[in-house]
Symmetry: C2
Subunit: 491 residues, 2 copies
């Protein structure tokens, strides 16, 4: 080590056994990946014929595979054999065209390619410097999607006038998007009310319709909100299970009168249970009266808003504080990809910034770059922007819209079939590609009998392996959820 | 829709244009992935010759690529061309053998294959039923790795006596592992102290050495702990920057005397800054006196503990509450893969469980299965267990140990070179594969001069593009961090 010019790679080239362990040997990488691609090709060709819900018992896999890790290496084909023979028969096939259960996790050839390349580069873009292209690609992809959604420029990283005050980040789940915005809103409310430390947290209140995903109520607890201050606002058929702004106002005002501090409202565009839509603009108007943060969870249905005919569901978005949607749910971007945009990134980074010595660098200190670690829970982060960009770059807006419309049309056709059949009823109006229906109580059937009949129908359908659908309870009724994504490859 | 036996796939087969948009057409999937594999093969062959830290300015990519999303589709080759010409030149190449900066994100052919197949199946294993094989594979992979680490059976999902009380989950980041365990410990302390709601949160205290990763202090704030109650315990050269249990005891006792409630201690095995090791057993003994939760963050160095000669760093692990380590950092499992084990999963699920109607199912209600959504922040989750299992299944314990030892040997060789050179000094003893060194202050150099000389050395090295290393500050000194992972494919 006599000279600083020594090339460390060269200096160590003589080290060790050249024939030693080479886990990233390019020939092996190519060979393993080609075998994987063959597997995937066959899987997509046959997935329709596999039972969508497997008939396995708890513990089945542990009985098939060895319970202790092997001490020596094995050809990759062994892992592939066990994958085919032991793992695949126990999968619930989300990629099956017969999967109608939850919001789908949609996928595409372009997303898979982007995900694979990102995994191979394996870059960790916590700061701009740690991978400039990864950060800038994420910023670009988020700005592109914001344009497709016609979000106001206040949510964009770059506007025609230069760098804006807003911006986005790609996270793993909607729950994380809720958590980081809840924390930002919490800290702002504590500062605003002059709380000593977190003492004031017991006065902070949060709000959402009772149809809001349970993960919101969990995120509130994670952020330390008092369970007694988490308001679940009742909805009913009169608003198609959407949040009633008058009720919201009444409850928020009552909280203020009781000395509490309204802090955060979560509005949903397309609830998980029944695809209900909370009125974004009206909620924002109520929130403004109390200086509360409004987050819009458009995890699933937000993707539909790239079509002009659905965009009205986001009306008023220019008056909210943050919005998240998950392209992995309906924009074919494979797990995981949840986009979060905020109107003022400083309100996020005030709570989430860290600045450890080992990450300090000129670019961050210049203030001209985005360090995405300050918009999320963790430090490490995958290069998720690549697959989102590849999907938009390859398919373009028109194909993405066609994909949304195709799903919605099929759901509409199914809905019409249900309406045309006396034995069934559609329980809530269909907004997107989810149809909530059930066997109607007929003749001497009580509501309880009808619930039981619907449960039995669901279980019998699921047991066939030919379809998998889920249920919900809306207005006290057991309802079947038929979620359309007929994956286009099979038609 | 006259019959319940109608096959929905067949019923809709006539729908739409058969030549329409097919984002998962198996031929396209194969073609796009083959192109991606070719790209990856070339990338690994040439990455050593690329400047490891790119010389791009903020905003460079936004100037190269179009600022608006395309409206129509384009051949996949266009995206690949822009990837090669615009993205790659702006990447910081974490896969380069000349990357010595942060903890590496290590990778392997087996991990890449597992990640790709998981992305293609695109399953969302939030409950056991949502994908039995995905849940069971994750459980199995965690139990295998626990065996390699010789963790006590109390951390395993399955023991020879059947299902244990402990268990694990694969998360995206160490920060998330810290957050979910902090929340569990917080809620337990609130219950224990009879707090009304979260009112008692102002009395809860948490502890970590000042060398602990900044993300711990952030996770504490996310979970609502009072910033004034987050104790950063000073360390020094006398303990090689590890936590001093006597100091910890003193501070915890002072807090109890002041009416506060010690709740959680984070001990690190291999700090990010200098690879310091907190004494796990001694910390557990102090914690036991106060009923505080002990979490061990072994994100990077935990992987080394699969080698018997490093296992002593985990001595006392049977007395802690939870431990996390990230195989993506040193066990070649590509981003992201952070394993968290807890001794009593009920203490986690008590805080993190949700039970929405649409996810209810017989298997969950039977209590015989693990629903992994109740061990993490979000609901959705990728099938990360597959790649971790594939790495262990294919390479086996012996090769994984060889990989760790190879990195450590190279670091040792570098350390010896530094020690043999009068101009340099090793600042903290090397524990694993990180060497912290600096130019020694010589002749008339002040400590400030030395800091400046080291900063200049780092910047000049990094600007060459031939190497990328990072710095830290230890004991007030500016220190260079040379982190070894000479990726074995190039030697």
């Amino acid at each position: 080590m006599g000279s600083l010019d020594t090339n460390p790679a060269a200096a160590f080239a003589a080290f060790g056994d050249g024939a030693g362990f080479q886990p990233l040997n390019p020939e092996d990488v190519r060979s393993y990946l080609h075998k994987s691609v063959d597997f995937i090709y066959d899987y997509y060709k046959t997935v329709e014929s596999l039972p969508v819900l497997p008939g396995v018992e708890p513990g089945y896999l542990l009985r098939l595979l060895q319970s202790a890790p092997p001490s020596s290496s094995a050809p990759f084909d062994i892992a592939m054999k066990e994958l085919k023979e032991a793992v695949v028969p126990g999968m619930t096939h989300w990629a099956s065209p017969n999967f109608f259960a939850f919001f789908p996790s949609t996928n595409s050839a372009a997303a898979l390619a982007g995900e694979l390349i990102a995994s191979a580069m394996n870059t960790v873009g916590f700061t701009w410097q740690a991978s400039p292209a990864a950060t800038e690609m994420e910023v670009l992809a988020l700005d592109w999607l914001a344009q497709l959604l016609r979000l106001p420029t206040s949510f964009m990283n770059r506007t025609s006038a230069g760098r804006g005050t807003g911006g986005g980040v790609i996270l793993g789940t909607t729950s994380e998007a809720m958590l980081v915005t809840l924390v930002a809103a919490r800290d702002a409310a504590l500062r605003r009310t002059g709380s000593e430390g977190v003492a004031g947290i017991t006065r902070l209140t949060v709000y959402a319709a009772d149809q809001t995903h349970s993960t919101f109520f969990k995120a509130c607890r994670l952020a330390g909100f008092d369970p007694a201050n988490i308001r679940s606002i009742p909805t009913g058929a009169e608003t198609d299970y959407g949040l009633d702004p008058a009720k919201l106002l009444e409850i928020m005002q009552a909280d203020v009168d009781a000395g509490l501090v309204p802090t955060y409202i979560c509005a949903t565009v397309g609830t998980t249970s029944s695809n209900a839509v909370d009125p974004v603009g009206a909620v924002a108007d109520v929130a403004a009266m109390f200086n509360a943060w409004v987050h819009v969870d458009a995890a699933y249905a937000g993707s539909a808003c790239i079509c002009p005919e659905f965009r009205h569901h986001l009306n008023g978005v220019e008056r909210i504080d943050s919005i998240s949607l998950s392209p992995h749910k309906w924009l074919m971007t494979c797990l995981d990809c949840t986009c979060l945009w905020v109107r003022d990134t400083h309100r996020m980074t005030d709570s989430l910034e860290t600045n450890p010595e080992y990450l300090k660098n000129h670019a961050s200190e210049s203030g001209t770059v985005t360090d995405l670690k300050d918009m999320q829970v963790g430090v490490g982060r995958r290069f998720r922007g690549l697959k989102l960009w590849m999907v938009m770059r390859t398919y373009g807006a028109a194909k993405l819209q066609e994909h949304i419309r195709s799903d919605v049309s099929m759901a509409k056709m199914f809905e019409e079939s249900v309406r045309a059949d006396d034995r069934f009823e559609v329980v809530v109006p269909r907004n997107f590609a989810l149809v909530c229906f059930r066997i109607k109580p007929q003749n001497c059937m009580t509501e309880e009998d009808a619930d039981e009949a619907n449960r039995e129908l669901m279980e019998r359908l699921n047991q066939t392996g030919k379809a998998y659908l889920a249920h919900t309870v809306v207005g006290g009724k057991f309802v079947l959820r038929y979620k359309f994504v007929i994956l286009p490859e099979v038609f």
